[in-house]
């Protein structure tokens, strides 16, 4: 599988602060959903900003879809990446939902007719077409995040980076946004990088990278990451709900002998236990 992002031996520090990353390397596979998890201050968001060229490396190299992140390539690279931040309000510029989604296209001088078509398609894809005349500030948190996503989808990126994009939403809003991004990922054949400390969100990823103090602690499939509750807790994270339930069952003598089961598999296993009792 192709690595759409290659991070090679990067070092970085903020001015007057110690090194946050010291020769860090990692790859992101094309077409996968990669979750980068770690506690506040672990360096997750800095990583996203380095990939998008918003801040500059001290040493090392980042390659995005074959292009090295540098001054020369930066605009081409940003066309490939859509970033969704924690608070969409920080990014709204348009007076209406429709204007806001059109903004990025105007910037790229897309012809008017085509722009209308793309804006409508993008807003329909996120389920916000009916809200096209509304003022973004008056929408709910989840709706705002949908509009922000439409603005990104309109520019047809290859990669979407969610930087704690759901952390301000209630659990239901969070679930809706994640299913939406998953749907768009499939339809538009995107790569998704999700930076999060929501463990249940990371549990749904194809690949999980655990970051602590600027270093990669572990990277693996969710199944292999979420079996070790103690390790997760030792770096300020929590275990997914199913891992906690499996631990509680094990304490009652009911052992699945699996490292980790997601919701569906755990339900299937419990059903089997009861039906064969």
């Amino acid at each position: 599988m192709k690595d759409i992002i290659q991070i090679k031996n990067i070092s970085f520090n903020y001015p007057d602060q110690p090194l946050l990353f010291d020769k860090l390397s990692m790859d992101v596979h094309e077409g996968e959903w990669t979750a980068i998890i770690g506690q506040n201050g672990s360096g997750k968001s800095t990583l996203a900003r380095l990939i998008d060229g918003l801040i500059v490396l001290k040493s090392g190299q980042i390659v995005v879809d074959g292009l090295t992140v540098n001054d020369e390539n930066i605009f081409e690279i940003r066309n490939k990446i859509g970033m969704v931040f924690q608070n969409p309000e920080d990014q709204f510029v348009g007076a209406t939902v429709e204007d806001d989604v059109a903004f990025g296209l105007e910037n790229r001088q897309v012809p008017r007719e085509e722009m209308h078509r793309i804006v409508e398609k993008s807003l329909r894809q996120v389920g916000m077409w009916e809200f096209r005349d509304r003022i973004p500030a008056n929408l709910s948190g989840g709706q705002k995040q949908r509009v922000a996503i439409a603005g990104i989808v309109a520019l047809s990126p290859k990669i979407i980076i969610l930087d704690e994009a759901t952390s301000m939403l209630d659990p239901r809003g969070r679930q809706e946004i994640l299913s939406l991004v998953n749907e768009i990922k499939k339809q538009n054949k995107l790569t998704v990088i999700s930076i999060t400390h929501d463990i249940d969100e990371a549990a749904g990823a194809d690949w999980v990278i655990v970051v602590n103090n600027g270093a990669i602690v572990e990277e693996d499939k969710p199944d292999n990451i979420f079996g070790d509750i103690e390790k997760l807790e030792s770096i300020g994270l929590s275990a997914p709900f199913t891992s906690q339930l499996m631990t509680a069952l094990k304490a009652r003598g009911i052992d699945s002998h699996s490292q980790y089961l997601n919701d569906e598999r755990l339900i299937t296993w419990i059903k089997k236990l009861i039906s064969t009792k």
């Binding site: 506690q39 506040n40 201050g41 924690q86 709910s140 948190g141 704690e164 952390s167 301000m168 209630d170 659990p171 239901r172 400390h197 463990i199 300020g236 994270l237 929590s238 709900f241 906690q244 339930l245 509680a248 069952l249 304490a251 009652r252 003598g253 009911i254 919701d263 339900i267 419990i270 059903k271 236990l273 009861i274 009792k277």
Partner: protein, 291 residues
């Protein structure tokens, strides 16, 4: 009983006398017991924040009255003479770290008490006590609050409220945006203030697991009305009703309903992982004993 918080037929209308008039609170009557840990839940726009902002008279009722600590707030209440009330009722807003502004942590925490006329020396002592309460190391005192981590900044902001020694602490989504460790630290702090300092805690939240883990009382709001008031077990016992309020179930109850949908005959709606594990164990092992 003058320590209770009592809402008597309170209505609050935003933009009154305009075409945009909207009832954010609609004839609300409720008593919040002193010393309780009360969670207020309801979907976005249901009136939770409007309700709690009446408790320290940040908002005044359009009709009706609120009694807090022997003080009555009614439509005619002016902003004069509210100092005592606001000293009793500490309010921590969402993302309170956005309100930090002083050069050092200690100065920021001292700002509140000094504002209430406490001497420099006493304000410093109160601020130091508050830092201890929230678990901030004293060697952070002279640091800039803006050099701290997100979780620490939030604790500075909460310490600033605690330095005024309130008896009632209102927390409006205090853990939004924090990682799991920061989340647990803030919630454990709320519990400690409740258990050891005997404060009345009022928590506005979307996190149903916190409601189960920490609250003794729950108020459910919908469209400006209080639709249910009870303990967590009473509130969450009927999953269909909870969903009809556009609310989530606690994780364990949610998982239990999925098991029931799949034909696993659980008898109760368990609110915690331990209880859920008990229920499952009973089904699995209870059956084995019969064989």
């Amino acid at each position: 009983m003058d320590q209770e918080i009592n809402f008597n037929q309170v209505t609050h209308t935003y933009q009154v006398n305009t075409p945009f008039a909207q009832d954010a609170l609609d004839n609300v009557s409720v008593t919040i017991a002193p010393g309780s840990f009360t969670a207020i839940i309801g979907h976005t726009g249901s009136g939770k924040s409007t309700l709690v902002q009446h408790i320290n008279a940040l908002l005044k009722p359009t009709t009706g009255e609120i009694a807090v600590y022997g003080r009555t707030i009614n439509p005619n209440t002016t902003n004069k003479n509210l100092k005592q009330l606001r000293k009793h009722v500490g309010m921590v807003f969402q993302f309170p770290e956005k309100q930090l502004f002083e050069e050092t942590v200690i100065k920021d925490i001292m700002f509140g008490p000094k504002n209430y006329g406490v001497s420099e020396q006493d304000a410093r002592r109160d601020a130091e006590d508050a830092m201890k309460l929230v678990g901030l190391d004293e060697n952070l005192s002279e640091k800039s609050p803006f050099d701290l981590s997100g979780g620490q900044m939030r604790r500075v902001a909460i310490a600033g409220v605690l330095a005024m020694k309130p008896q009632i602490l209102i927390l409006d989504e205090p853990t939004a945006g924090l990682d799991p460790r920061g989340h647990k630290e803030i919630m454990d702090l709320a519990q400690e203030l409740h258990d050891q300092q005997h404060m009345t805690i009022i928590l506005v939240t979307h996190q149903m697991d916190d409601v189960v883990d920490y609250a003794s009382d729950v108020i459910v709001m919908d469209q400006g009305k209080i639709v249910k008031h009870g303990n967590p077990q009473e509130i969450f016992s009927n999953p269909q009703w909870v969903y009809s309020m556009h609310l989530d179930l606690p994780s364990s109850a949610e998982f239990a309903t999925r098991l029931v949908d799949e034909g696993v005959p659980l008898r109760h709606t368990p609110l915690t992982i331990e209880k859920l594990a008990d229920e499952i164990a009973q089904l699995v092992q209870g059956g084995q004993e019969h064989e």
